[in-house]
């Protein structure tokens, strides 16, 4: 049986921490927001490019722990190609996964974060970039993004 620690730091997470995907600024982004955890000083910026209602590109930059960085990396991969509504549903599914351990609402590759649930203090790390993604969409809706 895997230990809690092995469940938390699965190889997918370690890989995305070492080599984060979409780790760049999007020059032609149509939505942008920052996620900051004042408790630990972690900070990420998230950029989204939308065409109509669809997210056609997503990226992030910033610094933080392996959990937050891998989560941001996989988040950008996951929302790419999704509609705004689908991206929001993904947010809710991911949140339920890391807080309640509820599987099945997100693609299998995001389920590597299920182990976070055993470390409640790390939930904020896992959701930081997701909150930034959601905030970027909200700011765009109010016409202050970009």
């Amino acid at each position: 049986m895997k230990s809690d620690l092995d469940e938390l730091y699965q190889s997918v997470i370690l890989d995305h921490n070492r080599a984060p995907r979409n780790f760049r600024k999007l020059e032609d982004a149509s939505a942008h927001a920052e996620g900051r955890n004042p408790l630990c000083g972690d900070v990420y910026e998230v950029w989204l490019k939308l065409e109509g209602d669809r997210i056609v590109d997503a990226s992030f930059q910033g610094q933080g722990c392996a959990i937050s960085k891998a989560s941001a990396s996989l988040m950008t991969q996951s929302v790419k190609g999704k509609t705004v509504t689908e991206a929001r549903a993904l947010f809710d599914g991911f949140h339920a996964l890391v807080t309640e351990g509820e599987a099945g609402r997100v693609p299998a590759k995001l389920e590597v974060f299920q182990g976070v649930r055993a470390f409640p203090i790390r939930v904020k790390c896992a959701t930081l970039s997701w909150h930034a993604m959601k905030a970027a969409l909200e700011q765009r809706d109010r016409g202050i993004g970009g």
Partner: protein
């Protein structure tokens, strides 16, 4: 037990574990003499008041104050520093005056000064620290001048443990007529204290880091300064006479203790002081110094690890940075082995910036920690290295 392992508690700089005498004393207070202080004419109130005031005398003796009248009980170090900033700072600072802090201050000895500076038109400037981790006293000397009103400095850093020479700082500051406010939260558990010998004007420390209860702090202030200060919070217990339109104030320390004080916590403080004054403090200092020297030496075996500000004289607080590993991840790996450390910016973001990092892993040792626990930390960090490559 933590996560199936015996606890290795190395987060003493955040708060210390409590000896049973403290718990028992607080329990006894609530069971046997629970009453408000300075109020009733009944026997219980008298017993509570006597016990409470006896703790003030013990606190004065522990800190080396000349009189119990120089000891104010507050909610903690943060409350003490806010009290001094708002009452002393608020009444003496004028536009253009300067408050000197250091780059290694905890936010609680920085933000209160920013707030009062904003209100009075004074400015806050930071004394730099050297790469070795010590205060740059030459730079400090050059920053001192006729505009310097207050020098607010940590006795020991909560991040790197560096000890600041309060005697020298007091002498230099007093030469230009400035007042010295010391944040002693991290020094009090590790060093014998003598505020009279240090000649500082205010000294604030926590009780919960000193093996006592949370919710209470000790603030020392020179009597003449306390007497000249206006009250901080208004309420019961801090007045001489109250009219509808104006009131007059009780003398210190009551002037600064509005409302029902933390009585049970004060009793707990009394118990812990009685307990720790019996320690041989020279032996304690030597023991803790040996522990951090051993830790520093053994940590060299972990690849890509460094300790910040290692060159300074320090209390038993170590800040660790590992190449390619975020402190939070390292902290979680250690936690899975039952080892409690702190990971983050430690409420000292300017110091993080000074060392070019966003967070560190902090291991802080107390009187009860052992050499075996140093080994557990080193083995835990070797495991961190294995997990993260």
């Amino acid at each position: 037990m933590v996560r199936g392992h015996p606890l290795v508690y190395l987060d003493n700089a955040a708060t210390a574990q409590k000896p049973v005498v403290v718990l028992e004393a607080m329990d006894r207070y609530y069971r046997d003499i629970n009453a408000n202080v300075h109020r009733g004419v009944h026997s219980l109130s008298e017993a509570a008041t006597t016990a409470y005031e006896r703790v003030r005398e013990r606190a004065a003796a522990f800190l080396g104050a000349g009189s119990a009248k120089e000891i104010v009980f507050t909610a903690g170090t943060t409350a003490s520093l806010n009290l001094v900033a708002q009452t002393y700072g608020g009444s003496v600072l004028r536009p253009g005056d300067e408050i000197l802090v250091t780059e290694m201050e905890h936010h609680s000895n920085l933000v209160p000064w920013q707030l009062v500076a904003e209100r009075t038109g004074a400015t806050v400037r930071a004394i730099p620290i050297t790469d070795a981790g010590g205060l740059d006293l030459l730079a400090f000397e050059q920053m001192l001048g006729p505009r310097t009103r207050i020098v607010a400095v940590a006795h020991a850093s909560n991040v790197i443990g560096a000890i600041n020479p309060i005697n020298a700082i007091s002498d230099m500051a007093h030469e230009v007529g400035a007042v010295v406010v010391v944040d002693g939260a991290q020094a009090a558990p590790h060093l014998p204290l003598d505020v009279s010998a240090m000649d500082c004007d205010f000294y604030a420390c926590s009780v919960h880091k000193l093996y006592g209860p949370t919710g209470i702090g000790m603030l020392y202030g020179k009597r003449a300064l306390l007497e000249a200060m206006p009250p901080w919070q208004g309420g019961g217990g801090m007045i001489r006479e109250v009219q509808i339109e104006r009131s007059t104030w009780a003398p210190p320390p009551e002037r600064f203790e509005a409302g029902t004080p933390p009585i049970a916590e004060a009793i707990g403080l009394g118990a812990v002081l009685e307990y720790i004054v019996k320690w041989n403090w020279d032996a304690l200092v030597a023991y803790e110094q040996e522990l951090i020297a051993e830790a520093s030496r053994k940590l060299l075996a972990v690849p890509g690890l460094r300790v910040l500000g290692e060159g300074a004289d320090r209390v038993s607080v170590l800040s660790i940075v590992m190449d390619g590993v975020h402190p939070h991840d390292a902290g979680t790996v250690l936690d899975a082995r039952g080892i409690a450390v702190r990971a983050g910016h430690h409420c000292a973001q300017p110091l993080m910036r000074r060392f070019g990092v966003t967070a560190t892993l902090r291991a802080s040792f107390g009187a009860y920690n052992t050499s075996e626990e140093v080994d557990a930390l080193v083995e835990g960090l070797q495991e961190v290295r294995r997990v993260f490559g």
